[in-house]
């Protein structure tokens, strides 16, 4: 028993830096999931398609010799467009947000394949933004932690500022009460399209960073990213809370860091990787079921309570 614990601990500790780098990159996807879910009350699945979209776009551009930073900007813009499409499908055709997201991510799969022309693409050995990290040797987790950390901090500060401006407050109002927001002169369309677009832009950015980090792009890289992101978000919210702009924005970062360390711990303890999705799914289910379990055996509340 002691032997098991010590070997688990040793292999876990060895993985800490790599996992930290990975979680800082994936924190952007969690942000891209949090903004529609929490700020806009627009449950959105686009990230499952926007994340590989960002990866494919960045991969193809870097393979073609484009500057890696520019590749990230291009990925970000493509992600933004994908998010705008999802919001537009929902607003214009009154299709449920979840279905709009599923449509978008299914269509994006083909688009991603078209962009790359094959199912995966190696960009190993080409330059990446992580080469520009100060003080450290490129290629090591420390470089990734520094670069992803800097971008993450910049995004956090920018969003924390934006959501407190007049425009940002208006965007939050659309999520809190669309009818009221409209009566206060706020265009629900502009805020929803802009907000969901912004969120998918973050997911795509994450994909672009991940491709540069792992050295290859793959059309299937988004598989299950949404449920991982949701699990991370819930952990983050359980720890830092969600009742202020600051806390709500901090939750994706804290959640991503802790969630991926937990995953790494499970793997180090010998959990077979194929079981990971089941474990994550059960965890998210438990987190979602907790409020209902606390309330007692009443079961689901009246359907009217469900908000689109």
């Amino acid at each position: 028993m002691m032997e098991f614990l010590s070997s688990t601990f040793t292999s876990y500790v060895a993985l800490v830096p790599v996992t930290l780098a990975q979680s800082l990159i994936l924190a952007f996807v969690v942000m891209g999931i949090m903004i529609p879910f929490r700020t806009l009350h627009f449950p959105d699945l686009t990230s499952e398609g926007a994340y590989p979209l960002g990866g494919c776009v960045a991969g193809v551009l870097i393979a073609a010799g484009v500057n890696p930073a520019l590749a990230i900007v291009a990925a970000l813009l493509c992600g933004f467009a994908a998010g705008c499409c999802t919001a537009l499908i929902h607003l214009r055709f009154r299709i449920h947000t979840l279905l709009a997201g599923i449509l978008m991510m299914t269509m994006l799969y083909s688009i991603n394949l078209r962009i790359m022309g094959k199912s995966n693409l190696s960009i190993f050995g080409t330059g990446s933004v992580f080469d520009w990290a100060p003080f450290v040797t490129p290629g090591f987790p420390a470089a990734k932690i520094i670069i992803a950390g800097i971008i993450g901090a910049a995004v956090f500060v920018a969003l924390n500022w934006f959501f407190k401006t007049e425009k940002g407050t208006a965007m939050r109002a659309v999520g809190a009460n669309p009818a009221m927001a409209e009566a206060q002169g706020i265009s629900v369309w502009v805020s929803t399209i802009g907000g969901v677009g912004l969120a998918s832009a973050f997911s795509a950015t994450s994909g672009a960073l991940m491709v540069q980090s792992q050295g290859f792009a793959d059309v299937n890289m988004g598989l299950g990213i949404l449920i991982n992101g949701l699990a991370a978000l819930m952990i983050g919210e359980a720890i830092v809370g969600k009742h202020s702009v600051f806390r709500q924005l901090l939750a994706p970062f804290v959640g991503a860091i802790i969630y991926y360390q937990l995953v790494s711990l499970c793997l180090a303890a010998g959990m077979p990787p194929p079981d990971l999705k089941l474990a994550t799914g059960l965890f998210v289910l438990a987190m979602l079921a907790l409020p209902s379990l606390k309330r007692g055996r009443g079961g689901a509340p009246a359907r009217e309570k469900f908000r689109e």
């Binding site: 934006f162 407190k164 401006t165 007049e166 425009k167 940002g168 407050t169 208006a170 939050r172 109002a173 809190a176 009460n177 009818a179 009221m180 927001a181 409209e182 009566a183 206060q184 002169g185 706020i186 265009s187 629900v188 009742h243």
Partner: protein
């Protein structure tokens, strides 16, 4: 000034249960006038209010505010001119946002929103002052999320939000109906004080006959999508609840029993 010109709205058109909600309804409200709309259920009161606010497009007819045709203007653009207090206290405020943030949203109703910081010190002290008029202690709870307030407090907040910035037209949609009698009186009192002080052009829908008698310059009774009766000027001063109820058709006598 509000003008509604032969507004027509039909629900379920061409189906067996076709219903004419507004039947060439015309109504004019002068600037600074306080009109009180009464009528039985299904008379078209809510449809009229929704048509004026822009939430429901008309089949035919026009809506003019201060002489400008706003018939085809979407809700969020009309909000530059129109403020509305809903019947449901939940509808008029953003529950998960703070009192101060709700006040900010209302203040920006008729302005263009910028990338400047929303809640600055000047605004906060202004909100404190405006909320203190209510005497509910809301001025000390600027950072409280609105979902933690009572229905009466939320509705009072909605009212302060609506009258701020002196809108061209104030719509009150049975805004005291969901409150207990004491709170309803409090909110109604605050409404009348604000409307008088700011000389707001106001259209209030109510089921409370006493309110219709006590407040406003003109009583407008709707029936089957038309204006059935208007009582204004000298005559309005002499009107009583009993007289008003006499005008309701037999069909809507259920209302009498309820009153």
């Amino acid at each position: 000034m509000l003008e509604i010109r032969s507004a027509r709205k039909t629900f379920y058109k061409g189906q067996p249960d076709e219903k004419i909600a507004l039947d060439d309804l015309s109504l004019t409200l002068q600037t600074g006038e306080f009109g009180v709309v009464i009528g039985s259920n299904g008379a078209g009161k809510s449809t009229m209010l929704n048509a004026v606010s822009g939430a429901m497009p008309l089949d035919r007819g026009q809506i003019l505010i201060n002489g400008d045709d706003v018939t085809n203007t979407p809700v969020h653009k009309r909000a530059m001119r129109i403020a509305r207090v809903f019947q449901d206290p939940m509808l008029g405020t953003a529950a998960s946002m703070t009192v101060a943030e709700n006040m900010l949203l209302a203040e920006l109703r008729s302005k263009s929103r910028t990338f400047a910081c929303g809640l600055n010190a000047k605004r906060l002290s202004d909100y404190k002052e405006r909320l203190s008029i209510l005497g509910l202690g809301l001025e000390n709870r600027l950072d409280t999320r609105v979902e933690l307030l009572s229905g009466g407090q939320r509705q009072s907040l909605s009212l302060i939000m609506a009258v701020g910035g002196s809108p061209d037209l104030l719509l009150l949609d049975e805004h005291t109906a969901a409150l207990d009698p004491r709170t309803a009186d409090l909110v109604m009192g605050a409404t009348v004080r604000a409307v008088d002080a700011l000389k707001l052009t106001t259209l209030m829908v109510t089921h409370n006959m006493q309110h219709a008698v006590d407040y406003g310059h003109r009583v407008i009774m709707l029936d089957a999508g038309k204006v059935k009766l208007e009582i204004g000027g000298e005559e309005k001063a002499d009107v009583t609840v009993a007289k008003l109820i006499d005008h309701f058709s037999v069909k809507s006598d259920a209302m009498l029993l309820g009153a």
